[in-house]
């Protein structure tokens, strides 16, 4: 099977547009979770989240490259900005002929729901009569369609909507299509925007903390919701070599599973997460894993279940493996978190640096992970990393990434 590599990264996050803003924000160690003003939170249980600064707040009329008008939602915008950055990072022009056969594997949980709910939350009868396009056009796959159109992609297009594992599984789907030879080039990732549906929904489950989330800390009380996009360019190693592309990392494996335990609570021993991790690692040397980008939502249940899973997979070595979570910094990006976290993980392998988790307070001894605190970690060697996501409905997914230069390992 061909080796699959990552050659471009793009991101939009509560730190701003671009991977640089995200990475620098993470390394500064200050959380981007703050009071929201995207919608009125005064009637909600909580007030804060990870909001992308200065992003459009409603459908924007845009002319695409061919001069055709489109109405882009906030989520569409995030996806397009991140994808364009990733393509440029990979050295592709926007009208590169290879895009004609490239695939798009995309994850989202609510698509353009922010715009759709503006209509449905207003007086329903008159609003609906006037603004159906806001509702009907904002299905979950709408951002993928907008993106495929923006980039003139002609290969497979598929939107995975497996909640918090959506974009991780989109990456797995991309890996399958690349390994089977269906495509040589793929753009994979995800996007989600804040909306009152998910904000009030997670609050109804009492899952959101009033304070910024503190993954793996002893005093954690819940998650923070964020928004944004992560997009990656993936190709076969041969395709990358042939065009002289810089390889950022190797996507060595991806695995997914289902807890089949409960619709919202994770399996307490992380049974499904163990499976996803084992599948991602395959026969690879677990000893080479230098760090883990955990799902780490900051809920009491998730973090301890996940730590158990990591212990089961990495054994005694877990104590030596740096564990980080971006969710205390940017929040839980729902369908986009897997891809955004993959971007952070790849960047980490490139630089040999693992961002710290913001805030203070002791690590939960029951979790017992070597959480990166206070300053970034610099594991050496830094040859491989894992990124995990554990979703609603028990859908788990994990990625195994290796540093560039380990191709053929």
């Amino acid at each position: 099977m061909p080796e699959i590599v990552i050659t471009g990264l793009g991101a939009v996050s509560p730190y701003g547009v671009g991977v640089a803003a995200l990475w620098e924000g993470l390394l500064r160690g200050e959380t981007a979770i703050a009071p929201l003003d995207l919608f009125d939170t005064s009637g909600h249980r909580t007030r804060i989240g990870g909001q992308v600064p200065e992003a459009p707040r409603g459908l924007e009329r845009e002319r695409d490259a061919a001069g055709r008008a489109e109405r882009l939602s906030r989520t569409d915008r995030f996806a397009i900005d991140a994808a364009r950055e990733a393509l440029a990072d990979a050295g592709f022009a926007q009208d590169a002929p290879e895009l004609r056969r490239a695939g798009l594997f995309f994850g989202s949980s609510t698509g353009g729901m922010f715009e759709a709910e503006r209509v449905l939350l207003a007086d329903p009868t008159s609003a609906l009569a006037r603004r159906f396009s806001h509702v009907g056009g904002q299905v979950i796959c709408a951002p993928a369609i907008a993106l495929a159109r923006d980039l003139a992609l002609g290969g497979p297009v598929e939107t995975v909507t497996s909640a918090c594992s959506a974009s991780t599984m989109a990456l797995e789907a991309a890996l399958m299509s690349l390994e089977s030879g269906e495509v040589e080039l793929a753009i994979a990732g995800g996007a989600d925007a804040l909306c009152e549906l998910t904000y009030s929904g997670f609050n109804s489950l009492r899952a959101i903390d009033e304070r910024p989330a503190r993954p793996f800390r002893a005093d954690r009380e819940g998650l923070s919701i964020g928004e944004g996009s992560g997009m990656l360019v993936l190709e076969t190693a041969a395709h990358a070599r042939a065009r002289g592309a810089t390889v950022l990392a190797v996507l060595a494996g991806a695995g997914s599973s289902c807890d089949a335990y409960h619709m919202t609570a994770p399996h307490p021993e992380g049974k499904g997460a163990i499976q996803a991790l084992e599948r991602a690692l395959g026969a690879a040397d677990r000893g080479a894993v230098a760090f883990v980008n955990a799902h780490g939502t900051g809920t009491p249940h998730n973090d301890v279940a996940e730590a158990q899973a990591l212990r089961a997979v990495l054994g005694e070595r877990l104590a030596d493996v740096a564990v980080t979570s971006t969710k205390g910094a940017v929040g839980h990006l729902l369908g986009a978190c897997g891809a955004l976290e993959a971007v952070v993980t790849v960047r980490g392998l490139v630089e040999g640096v693992v961002p710290q988790t913001p805030g203070d307070g002791p690590v939960d001894p029951e979790a017992g992970v070597a959480l990166v605190l206070g300053a970034p970690a610099r594991p050496a060697p830094c040859a491989a990393a894992l990124s995990t996501n554990l979703a609603f409905g028990g859908a788990n997914a994990a990625l195994h990434l290796r540093a560039a230069g380990t191709e053929g390992a």
Binding site: F132, A142, A152, S162, L197, S204, C258, A260, M263, G394
Partner: protein, 408 residues
């Protein structure tokens, strides 16, 4: 490695089970109810569409007891009942499928619109603090696939794919990939969609739905020169996909072999409409099938997703013509006029087409030029060797699956 289909579960407005599907395809006319009787009326709205095809009350009971469905949205109930039916049809017991070797790959166009609408109504009318956790859990689009896994103990990969009209086919294709890549030994793959009042109102306002004609009769017809619009429907259709060696090893009834998968995108499409990319889509289909050693002239039936949307049907037909080129199109069926536009009925129909079920002539078409086609006088009879299942979605995504008869 070869992937085969060993079971089918279907529910729809036509009822539940293969025989009910066979009957509606034989009659060629959908089973519909008035919008009021279908439970789709919405205060303050007078849609033009007057009829819809909804699953009859109690139709799911043989596969899903009401007590077990307590926390399921309508979409989840359809998905679970269809899956249980499919497993039984495949001759598998629950002990056989529970565990990490069985995956789920479910396509859904809309997810649970009824629950989403109710949740937003709570937000609007009684505020964020009144939002129901039980409703929220089921507005998450992967809830339905999650409920299937929970009911049957399926611990393999759990995919939910949403890509408009191509959702079901893409989910099946992804399911095939899961088996081929060794990620699962068997997959429950297909589609599920519920019909809801808000969905009916929105689709009707878009002009997407068929409405009564001059004589007061509402009928969705595919490939027509005059657009009819589509029939709103709900349902679920699930295939059991298995590694062929494993299926034969356990003495399963192998209904079809999946020979080829093709996925492509028409980037000229907008988010809500079909584009004009027939040449590109057709060329992609042709090139991929040639690369997979599945020549187009070996196809003897096409089961299209055309449902009465003028631009969609025309694009699909032009795409098929572009792919086949000089080779005349084999008999071309569009079952959604009978099964309805949503709920995966076409996935069930595709398997039956391979096995040679007799369908009403009105569901078979002879292509003209220019993106339209006429119904034939006489329907083709008998089984087929190879069926091409076609799905061309608004927004641009397209997916084709070639099924081959496998009674060797």
């Amino acid at each position: 490695m070869s992937v085969v289909v060993t079971g089918l579960g279907v529910v729809g407005g036509f009822g539940a089970g293969e025989d009910a599907l066979r009957a509606v395809l034989a009659s060629g006319a959908p089973v519909t109810a008035s919008i009021e009787d279908a439970g789709l009326a919405l205060d303050g709205h007078s849609p033009r569409s007057q009829r819809a095809s909804v699953v009859p009350k109690d139709a799911l009971r043989p596969w899903l007891a009401p007590g077990k469905a307590r926390r399921m949205s309508p979409a989840s109930r359809l998905a679970v009942a269809g899956s249980v039916q499919a497993i039984e049809a495949a001759g598998l017991a629950s002990e056989d499928v529970a565990g990490p070797e069985t995956a789920v790959s479910l396509g859904t166009y809309f997810g649970s619109t009824s629950y989403t609408y109710k949740l937003l109504a709570q937000l609007r009318e009684t505020g964020a603090l009144s939002v129901s956790p039980l409703l929220f859990m089921e507005t998450v689009a992967n809830a339905h696939a999650g409920q299937i896994a929970l009911m049957l103990g399926l611990e393999g990969p759990n995919y939910t794919i949403s890509q408009r009209e191509a959702s079901g086919a893409l989910a099946v294709a992804r399911g095939v990939d899961l088996v081929r890549s060794g990620r699962a030994q068997r997959v429950i793959a297909g589609a599920a969609d519920e019909a809801s009042p808000i969905q009916h109102v929105v689709l009707d306002a878009y002009g997407a739905l068929a409405r009564p004609g001059a004589e007061g009769v509402q009928a969705a017809r595919a490939f027509g020169r005059e657009p009819t619009g589509v029939l709103l429907s709900e349902g679920a259709a699930l295939w059991v996909l298995e590694d062929e060696a494993a299926a034969r090893g356990r003495g399963a009834n192998v209904r079809a072999r999946v020979l080829a998968l093709v996925r492509a995108n028409d980037a000229t499409a907008t988010q809500t409409d079909w584009g004009d990319g027939a040449e590109h889509l057709g060329a992609s289909l042709r090139a991929r099938l040639e690369a997979l050693d599945t020549p187009l002239d070996s196809i003897d039936r096409i089961v299209a997703g055309a449902a009465g949307a003028r631009r969609g049907d025309a694009l699909e037909l032009r795409t098929l013509q572009a792919a086949f080129g000089d080779t005349p199109l084999p008999p071309l069926a569009a079952p959604k006029a009978a099964t309805g536009a949503y709920g995966g009925g076409e996935l069930g129909a595709a398997l039956l087409a391979l096995e040679g079920a007799d369908w009403a002539p009105g569901l078979w078409f002879r292509a003209g030029s220019d993106g339209w086609a006429e119904p034939v006088q006489e329907a083709p009879r008998g089984p087929a060797e190879r069926v091409l299942v076609s799905a061309v979605a608004a927004g641009g995504a397209a997916c084709w699956i070639v099924l081959e008869r496998a009674d060797d």
